[in-house]
């Protein structure tokens, strides 16, 4: 079994701020891997470093056995796609859904565009009626579905998910999480998912890494977490917090 994503001693520095302080992890092919942490933990930075959006100061990133250099080539983006947190910000305000989905196909010179767009829309449960709408004519959940369709249209093997449901209502969140699980099963995708919510990560992922202040705290399997078999206090705090408010006294 090879690693879909392998990261060794990754360090990311913005100006002088060390956002990631030497993090290593390995995501197996077909696995769903979660990154949990609070704001400033560096979990989103890690995703951005993989895609080339954050400057790597040191360390190596290997995707599907290929070590990544400073720049990413077109082939990389056919393997790795990302879904952003804010569905209101990740769709171009002046483009129809059709145009949004056409863009990746045009960039990569893929011919059977019509069919792919229709299939992608069907797959995320939107159907043809949504094809010529603008982003402002869609609800938050629908926008996130379009973003997922856009990520899937290049048929990547790895999907990076940056808090894909944190801006959505709980009921819509459930729908989007179900959709993500479904497309993962159908396309045998590898997920690397970031969230601040332990419950979502344990629901979606087989293994996870808890992060704090740019460092890895510990790596767990979902079942270890469910059984509260954790070794670090910080993880225990997070677990307690996710259970809601408990009145003492």
């Amino acid at each position: 079994m090879t690693a879909a994503v392998a990261i060794e001693g990754l360090e990311v520095v913005f100006d002088r701020f060390r956002a990631l302080k030497g993090v290593s992890l390995e995501v197996r092919e077909g696995e769903s891997y979660g990154l949990v942490g609070e704001s400033g933990s560096g979990k989103s930075t890690l995703l951005r470093a993989i895609t080339g959006l954050a400057p790597v100061a040191s360390g190596t990133i290997t995707v599907n056995g290929k070590a990544l250099g400073k720049t990413r080539d077109k082939a990389f983006y056919r393997d790795v796609q990302m879904v952003f947190q804010d569905p209101y910000g990740s769709l171009h305000p002046r483009q129809t859904v059709d145009r949004l989905l056409q863009e990746p196909l045009a960039i990569h010179g893929i011919a059977d565009g019509e069919k792919r767009i229709e299939r992608a829309l069907d797959e995320v449960g939107l159907g043809k009626g949504f094809r010529f709408r603008y982003a402002h004519q869609l609800s938050g959940g629908q926008r996130q579905r379009v973003a997922i369709a856009r990520a899937l249209i290049l048929e990547p093997s790895i999907l990076l998910l940056d808090e894909p449901t944190s801006a959505l209502d709980a009921s819509v969140q459930a729908e989007v999480l179900n959709l993500l699980e479904e497309v993962r099963r159908r396309h045998k995708l590898t997920f690397l998912m970031v969230s601040h919510d332990l419950a979502i990560i344990t629901h979606m992922c087989e293994r996870l890494m808890v992060m704090q202040n740019g460092d890895a705290v510990e790596t767990l399997t979902a079942s270890q977490l469910i059984g509260h078999r954790v070794s670090e206090d910080y993880t225990r705090n997070l677990l307690r917090a996710s259970e809601g408010f408990v009145r003492t006294a």
Binding site: T51, L53, R72, D73, K74, F76, Y77, R78, Q81, M82, F84, Q85, D86, G89, S90, L91, H92, P93, R94, T96, D98, E103, P104, I107, H108, G129, F130, F132, R133, Y134, H136, Q137, A147, R150, L154
Partner: protein, 306 residues
């Protein structure tokens, strides 16, 4: 068309679920038009500009006399009358005819300047804003140098170097009016450059060229259109100013600024020679300003549901 047909067409345009690319685009344009047409003054502006275009197109039909050849013997400096609506000038030419033909030159100047200056500004601004770093510094310092000169003075210098004439005046105005557009385009680019939707396109492997051309420029265009329209009045005035100084259109071209210049000598006794082209400049400038204001309300990318 029956009321029902109009109603159903409106529904088709305002549909939340357009069925084709054309419908989506038309619907969008219709929403912008509704917002624009709700503004009465903007409609007045649009009407003035349309009238200018019609007059320019039909100048040959509308003008009763020649614009360049006058009747020196019988018709010098006549006051406005039924025969010569706006009177005649010192060479016996009918001022009304000259103004009608002059509209062509006004449009010529305005359109050429817009075609030259706006794309230069758009290109410089978006490239500087998106690339950042050294490219940005160099491009923006060049822009600053151009901005540091008063517009008319710089235009004068260019005309002096290139020689007088309306083509050179246009060129000079275009060269001096792109820097503000570059500024606007850059500011707009900086606000969208780090947005997720631009990052999403980067993550599809799009080249920088493609991102600037297809994703950033369309977002800058509406604010640029607004600014260019509002600047039109200034451009007309600069062109008129150059004409007035004798550095723009050369006689006997019926350019409005040059007409005022030649009427200046008789301004106390034969006021109409200068007043008529002055009023024409005033009305057209006002038209562009009203239109620009209306466009700002209709196209502003920051206003909600665009």
């Amino acid at each position: 068309m029956s009321a029902e047909a109009i109603q159903s067409r409106r529904e088709w345009l305002l549909s939340d679920r357009p069925a084709s690319r054309v419908q989506a685009r038309l619907g969008r344009a219709y929403v912008a038009w509704r917002r624009f047409s709700a503004n009465r003054l903007a409609l007045v502006g649009l009407l003035i500009i349309l009238a200018l275009m019609v007059v320019a197109a039909l100048a040959g039909v509308l003008a009763p006399y020649s614009a360049t050849v006058g009747d020196l013997k019988n018709a010098r400096l006549l006051a406005p009358s039924a025969e010569h609506w706006f009177g005649t000038d010192d060479l016996g030419r009918d001022i009304y005819s000259r103004i009608v033909y002059g509209s062509r030159w006004t449009l010529y100047v305005v359109i050429l300047v817009a075609i030259i200056a706006a794309p230069i500004g758009l290109l410089v601004g978006t490239v500087a804003g998106y690339a950042g770093g050294w490219t940005d510094t160099i491009l923006m310092r060049i822009t600053d140098i151009f901005l540091a000169f008063p517009k008319l003075v710089l235009a004068l210098a260019f005309v002096a170097a290139l020689g007088p004439g309306i083509e050179n005046a246009v060129l000079a105005i275009a060269i001096t009016s792109w820097p503000p557009y570059a500024r606007i385009a850059r500011a707009e680019t900086l606000t969208v450059r780090n947005s997720d939707y631009i990052k999403a396109v980067q993550l599809m492997g799009a080249s920088s060229f493609r991102i600037v051309l297809r994703h950033i420029m369309p977002l800058c265009i509406s604010s640029l259109i607004i600014r260019v329209t509002l600047d039109m009045a200034g451009i007309i005035l600069t062109a008129a100013g150059l004409g007035f100084l004798g550095l723009g259109a050369q006689p006997p071209l019926p350019e409005w600024g040059a007409m005022i210049a030649s009427g200046r000598r008789f301004i106390l006794d034969q006021w109409w020679v200068a007043a008529a082209p002055g009023a024409a400049i005033l009305i057209v400038s006002l038209g562009f300003n009203l239109l620009g204001d209306g466009l700002r309300d209709a196209l502003d990318p920051r206003s909600g549901d665009q």
